[in-house]
């Protein structure tokens, strides 16, 4: 009973921390924006007033979209981690390790280099779609290649090594494309290595927000089935679950969500690893809670990491992947050192 109540309390608590970190991330940076300026610019925006001060414009055009993009990308990466961990039945899997992010980066790089050369008819969805195709390909390759025939479960060594190989393959593809690219395109490619949210605008917030919310809602719908899958495939099948359909659905939801995020912000590692791990410590492995809590906590983590990325070397900016790696690597090693890799 006590246990149940504390589980219910976690979610509102996380939500209020998230609100706090959003406020932090819109207020602080190379220039600090006061609460008054934030409120007045919101009022002016809804009155469609054109008469904004510079700080108000900075808030409306740069800070707010960036803060929201942080939340959506963080949620995508964290939930992506949860889904992958359930699918691979292994708690140390995350989009950056099993090739999803590098595949997405490759797809996006292909779009940037070839799109300019062949003058494709493109619209705002071409980039996320190109990234999705790349991500689907790389993730599926890792999934197939690392699955052991005997147990139907991927062995950790095989999985990590396959991940390294596929990551290397796709990142070398990105490297090749940036080498042959003409200058402006190449500049768009290099940032994928470590990720940055500095390109945030309302357009990217719209696309990533849409894919994040839709995919998380779908994931919540089949979270119970994922719980069953974690028992083992045979057990899940005995419970009447269509395993191959569930696997395909999980993979697709995950890939769409991760690639939309990666297409706009680049590869950000370890969020998908750290967040679900922490949430499991707090609230157990039940995917119904895990997905929801991880989504919010992912948003918190990435918002705070982004504030750090903006503050450490200001007025310049660090790629956010540096910050998340510094936080994530120790936890990753801790997880690896534990004898028991399973849930």
């Amino acid at each position: 009973m006590e246990q149940g109540r504390s589980k219910e309390l976690i979610f509102p608590l996380l939500l209020s921390i998230l609100t706090g970190s959003i406020i932090l991330s819109v207020r602080y940076g190379a220039i600090n924006i006061s609460v008054d300026e934030i409120l007045s610019s919101l009022v002016k925006y809804f009155l469609a007033s054109d008469d904004m001060s510079l700080n108000e414009r900075i808030f409306m055009n740069i800070r707010l979209p960036r803060a929201l993009l942080c939340v959506f990308v963080g949620a995508s990466l964290a939930v992506g981690g949860v889904l992958m961990q359930a699918l691979f039945r292994n708690p140390i899997v995350e989009p950056g390790l099993v090739g999803t992010s590098s595949g997405a980066a490759f797809g996006a790089a292909l779009y940037f280099v070839l799109g300019g050369t062949f003058k494709f008819n493109t619209n705002e969805w071409t980039l996320p779609i190109a990234a999705s195709v790349g991500a689907m390909l790389s993730t599926y390759l890792v999934f197939i290649l690392s699955n052991s025939k005997e147990t139907g479960r991927s062995s950790i060594i095989l999985l990590l090594l396959t991940g390294i190989a596929i990551n290397a393959l796709f990142m070398s593809g990105v490297g090749f494309l940036s080498y042959i690219a003409r200058d402006p395109q190449a500049r768009s490619i290099t940032f994928w290595g470590m990720g940055t949210l500095s390109g945030a605008n309302w357009h990217s917030v719209g696309i990533v927000g849409f894919s994040t919310v839709t995919c998380i809602l779908i994931a919540l719908r089949f979270s119970n089935q994922l719980n069953a899958l974690m028992l083992g495939e045979n057990e899940a099948m005995l419970l009447g679950i269509n395993i191959s359909r569930l696997k395909l659905l999980t993979l697709s939801v995950n890939v769409v969500m991760i690639s939309a995020a990666t297409a706009f912000v680049g590869v950000i590692s370890f969020v998908g690893l750290v967040v679900p791990h922490l949430m499991r410590l707090i609230n157990g492995s039940d995917n119904r809670y895990l997905i929801r809590n991880s989504a919010i906590a992912g948003g918190i983590l990435l918002s705070l990491a982004d504030v750090l990325a903006r503050m450490i070397v200001r007025p310049a900016e660090l790629p956010i992947g540096i910050v998340t790696s510094v936080v994530g690597v120790p936890i990753f090693i801790l997880l690896l050192r534990r004898k028991n890799y399973f849930f």
């Binding site: 190379a30 414009r57 740069i62 768009s188 605008n201 900016e317």
Partner: protein, 291 residues
Amino acid sequence: MKYLLNFVILVATITSCNRFSNKDEKMNQHVRIVCIAKQYSEIIYALGAEENIVAVDVSSNYPEELKKLPTVGYHRALSTEGILAAKPTLILHDNNIGPEHVVKQLEALKIPMKVFENKGSDIDSTKLLISEIGAYFNKQERAKELCKKLDSNMAQAIENAKQYTDTLKVLVIHFGQASNIYLVMTKNSIAAKMIEWAGGKMAVDDEKGMKQLSAEVVAASDPDVILLTDFGYDRLGVPEKIKELPGVAGTKAAKANRIYRVEEHDLVYLGPRTGENVLLLQKLIHQDGTR
């Protein structure tokens, strides 16, 4: 591997950002200009119009006083917040800034930006650029003087060049060497013009101004003289070390000890000092390397 790279870049960022910590000593200025073009920065200082310049890009490093200003970073890797921290009322740039999304964000914020009309890509257009910037900052007289001096230095340089009987093949290596790949300047660069005026020719041709070459191609180009820009030269320190580099070893330049250091800001763009710099280059590349 990627994490190692992250770490290296982190260290590089921290060690290279000593200029980032420069204090803004012009806090009370009403007109606050951020200049993101090294050519403009030098001309503005030569004109004595630097009063309202509050920050520059990291490549703007001539004259020396520029290094005391806060910097907004590398001109192709700008950050919007970094520029905004300088509270600019005007941004001067030469259309060679990026990344694209930062430019779009600055436009969305309606911060005034100005590009001068004249390109400054040959002597005539450089004089026009100096006059244009002079007129903008109301320093017409000083602009005239600068142009006159540029003309007389260039005339002197062309006169000097007539005495040279041979055209030296010069290889200009930029930023030294990274994992045995050399970034060299080609016949399509500003540096190539300077070298031609100085009585030499570039050893490498390409449609891009700069090109990465392997050690083998460097060896095959077999230049008479090798110039290293400041950063790369200083990293290796002494000509003996440079001579040992793969590709450089065995060239005519290495055999005859004709490897010299050149300041990047003397070579890669044209400005009021171009005439002087050509005269310097002439002395540099035509001197006898045997010591």
